[in-house]
Symmetry: C2
Subunit: 505 residues, 2 copies
């Protein structure tokens, strides 16, 4: 009943997958498929894995068990070591998932059990999807609170030796909206502690961590992060590496491909991370627009109330800023192009995108006004002063040095194509989802220089044949994907003289 470990060089993402040979000597692997999951044990440590059966001894021999990359890593043993296997009982907490599917509400203990099992990689992707969909149907405010606290408890908790620890978060969905990289150095220059953790893109063309990585190292350990914050007041690091809410990272990995983005999951996701990060004051950027995550003011209101409800019970001061989410912010979309815009704003460059600069001031102002010493309404001027004086740029350079400056700075492209207007008119609307998708198809964020430069904004006049935006790609395959997709549907709607936008798009 003992099998030797063999490493299967297959990245199955979140999910532990084990592989048994169909001619396995120890047992009939098909028998396990009914239970779907098996437990792999060695000396007290164990993992739960889904099972695939292999019909070829080149991959797994009859006395072996194959473990795909995540399973191999989590098992933590060398190839050739022996393990025993047994049918995995479904985690007890799956019973609670079924309770939830049945329409009942869950108590704290039940939600904690579910989150602990998810964080322990004991759920299959299917099971995670079942939990998320059940919660998407209905989640009471108490359940939301339990979920937020359970998710925070499953991760690392940071503590800071300061009475005020500020943070700023955007709910996402707007391409190019890279304000954190401007707000953080402004606020750090003001003297506040702002240990900013950001995500990498999952389905978007760039996360703040991806864009920051163009300039500096972002995969800092907690100790390194604390050192940087001690030196610079702030940091701009990747949150995934400091493990603030591992359950959330797993849930998001299933939510995104399913395109499930409920209010409650969003609040639990953001607030669990803020709780773990030790923030005391938080400003949330909530873009509102027809292709943004929040599409009408009723929905914005509901979301604001939910954030406030949870924040109050976390003893966190929260302010929600509803912002313009009708089109991308700045010009560049994709790590290199966004980093260029951010640095142009910080450098007071005349060519810097005015909307990115203006929005950053507004957000920074709200953060700075958390300072008891700053009068209400004086935050904006303070933010502008810190930027125009060069203090914010100095602060950013200090953060970049402290985190570790990137050795090379990649260029945009090199392949480029302009997407042209098919008619004369005025830009009536821009589809944020489509633009993000096209930038992603172009290769962002993995090709850091890939992405889009948006050349026209809502209200701009355009003539037939004038470029709406430019696509950048590093490789031909992605270049073709993006250009072909843009030709099918370019995401811009133009309005002519009295002609409705749709007819001309």
């Amino acid at each position: 009943m003992r099998l030797k470990i063999r490493r299967i060089p297959l990245d199955t993402l979140r999910e532990n997958v084990a592989v048994l040979a169909s001619n396995c000597t120890a047992l009939r692997p098909e028998a396990f498929q009914a239970f779907k999951r098996l437990e792999v044990q060695h000396d007290g440590r164990s993992i739960v894995a889904s099972l695939d059966i292999c019909h070829d001894r080149s991959m797994v021999g009859p006395d072996e068990i194959g473990l795909t990359e995540p399973a191999f890593r989590r098992m933590g043993l060398a190839e050739g070591e022996t393990v025993s296997i047994s049918p995995a009982r479904s985690p007890q907490s799956l019973e609670y998932v079924r309770t939830k599917i049945g329409g009942e509400t869950l108590n704290r203990h039940q939600i904690e059990s579910i989150i602990q099992d998810i964080a322990g990689y004991r759920y299959s992707d299917m099971e995670i999807a079942a939990f998320l969909v059940a919660c998407a149907g209905f989640l009471s405010t108490d359940e939301l609170l339990h979920l937020t606290f359970a998710m925070a408890a499953a991760g690392t908790s940071l503590t800071w030796d300061a009475p005020i620890v500020v943070d700023k978060h955007c709910i996402g969905g707007i391409p190019g909206n890279r304000t954190s990289m401007i707000v953080v150095p402004i606020v750090a220059a003001h003297g506040f502690i702002m240990p900013k953790t950001s995500s990498r893109a999952i389905t978007s063309p760039a996360g703040t961590a991806d864009t920051m990585e163009v300039l500096a190292r972002v995969d800092l350990t907690i100790d390194e992060m604390k050192e940087v914050v001690g030196e610079c007041n702030a940091c701009l690091v990747w949150g995934g590496h400091v493990n603030l809410s591992p359950a959330d990272d797993i849930l998001i990995g299933v939510e995104r491909p399913l395109n499930l983005d409920t209010r409650e999951q969003m609040v639990a996701s953001i607030m669990s991370k803020k709780k773990s990060a030790g923030s005391t004051h938080l400003v949330i950027d909530l873009p509102l627009g027809p292709t943004a995550k929040v599409r009408d003011s009723m929905e914005a209101l509901r979301l604001r109330k939910l954030f406030e409800f949870v924040a109050d019970r976390m003893n966190l001061h929260v302010e929600i800023m509803v912002t313009d989410g009708t089109q991308p912010v700045g010009r560049g979309i994709g790590p290199v192009l966004e980093a260029r815009d951010v640095m142009a704003v910080l450098a007071n460059d005349a060519s810097a995108p005015a909307d990115l600069r203006e929005k950053s001031f507004q957000l920074a102002a709200r953060v700075i006004e958390c300072d008891p010493a700053v009068r209400g309404g004086a935050g904006y001027e303070r933010a502008r002063h810190l930027l125009e004086s060069g203090a914010a740029m100095a602060s950013m350079q200090k953060i970049i040095e402290a985190q570790g400056r990137a050795s090379s700075s990649p260029a945009p492209g090199p392949l480029t194509a302009d997407i042209l207007a098919h008619a004369d008119g005025v830009v009536a609307s821009v589809d944020c989802l489509r633009i993000a998708q096209l930038a992603r198809l172009a290769g962002a964020p993995l090709d850091r220089g890939a992405g889009i430069d948006v050349l026209k904004r809502i209200g701009d006049k355009v003539e037939t044949g004038e470029p709406l935006y430019r696509i950048y790609s590093a490789g031909e395959a992605h270049f073709n994907f993006a250009v072909e997709a843009a030709e099918q549907s370019n995401g811009f709607a133009l309005a002519g003289a009295g002609i409705p936008a749709k007819a001309l798009a």
Copy 2:
């Protein structure tokens, strides 16, 4: 942008999985993980697959795409042939799944789109889970109807040249309940057309197809099935092979590991198959008991009404028989042990399990009474006569011959262990789920001789050390799994003189 196919000898069940090398020359495979799914094309044919990334060229080279067993089979090309790939757009119907998650009801077109995409293997397991959970929350009767018809339409439709085509179905959950193999030959001997298709076990220790396979071939084509029915009036074949409801087969594959078993899914599953099978009269066995699928009479009533609602709109005569589901039926559980019981009943063997015989008479009676020539109430005597006269056995032998008699008949075991009572008492209850699970752990249905012989029934007196049941296994690993599990919890509750069952179990 063209990649050569390589076959990956990995059985990923329902799901198409493609494998790209991390150093793929054509594109960055990680870029696809955001979209989660990619489309593989060749000359007009295409499949949609989930993507795993491989970090080792032994599995997939930089100019290759690996296809796991189901993907390779469905693509239908030889290794080395070239294909092109592109990011798969989410099927349009996933938008409807999200609509359903949002609490709305779906119309016929939306449900048809979802079912067609599922039957076309265009959904990932996660996406199927999302659909099932959304439906488990709430499904209107109209939605149920659309679902049933859409599932039937996605499969093969059988037609029979007879005014009455009877069928019998059990909703499952009761181990050993192998009445179809007795009812079918009785009814065939009566002269009715009864083209019975059955399932193989998914999580149970045996399906009727598994047990019948001990005696005869069951993977008949539609033409072979028609020939057998022409010759014998009836057949007992595996439904999966004749593809009556391929979407249902896929849905069940996700429902079972998630342990999702809603009323509506059950009705849609059963009735879609009956519609495709061309039945005109159907008797449904609905076992009721504390560990059966239906646990109280309210639930049985609700289920009966749903079956009747759908059947009426399908123009199918349906009768629901609520039966005793408090304990296993017959003695044997597992293919060989069940086949032994069935043949003993058909042979009028004095040692045959009386409960299996009696229940089969009752079901056969209801089917036979669909005959306008049989008076109400006369079905039971007719059924008993057909069995006792040897006509049913002759009919069964004819079916076995026509389908193709199995060349060898495997024996039970050979490893056996008796599970003993820990106290004196009377059997108060038997946990059907636990007994099924133990038989499955013992290796059934894959090891055909594996399973359980139940030796005590509810109401039987037992003494300490007396065997409650016997476990049979073919291999040591499964034998140990089952015996250890039975020792932890044997599924029998005994009641002593005035002592509650639980205290003695």
